[in-house]
Amino acid sequence: GAGVSQTPSNKVTEKGKYVELRCDPISGHTALYWYRQSLGQGPEFLIYFQGTGAADDSGLPNDRFFAVRPEGSVSTLKIQRTERGDSAVYLCASSSNPREETQYFGPGTRLLVL
């Protein structure tokens, strides 16, 4: 079936603006993860959903970041009052169930804050 999809592919915004990044996991996958990848670095964990609830949000850097997954499939990462330091690639991954250790990634959204 289809893999993880993310929209938009690229997003340019101005400092202080609000942005939403969307992730469509593989159909039937109950676990969903968000990561942030800064230039020249490996991805860093932001938040993990099991179903509709956030099971681990310990990676969210501050209260400007939050994410939702209201129906247990699509997830939206929301960033308020964007800062230049938020510029990065935001990656989403999903896995089939809590006992599945392998995560499958989407192509990411490249966010540029001017």
Binding site: F45, Y48, G59, E100, E101, F105, G108
Partner: protein, 114 residues
Amino acid sequence: AQTVTQSQPEMSVQEAETVTLSCTYDTSESDYYLFWYKQPPSRQMILVIRQEAYKQQNATENRFSVNFQKAAKSFSLKISDSQLGDAAMYFCAYTIGTASKLTFGTGTRLQVTL
């Protein structure tokens, strides 16, 4: 802190030759999983190979194999018969148990030359 170290920022290999990418990790947990992901310029993380820490046998996947040294906390990736399509960033990562965040290293850029 739990960390992953990839000490080779860049590696180069000739087509058809063999190359080994190094990775060490640091965790006090006993139940964990290790991964190598490939990230081409398209940004999408692609799973190359995975290893369960409780398994002594090294994982293999076609031209890709690992050398897992649990006591040394070492997890290197060997690519045999290198192909031009193998050129990418390679990230080593692990999860603690299942349904858990991935912790990534900083990556190794692999170049494949004719």
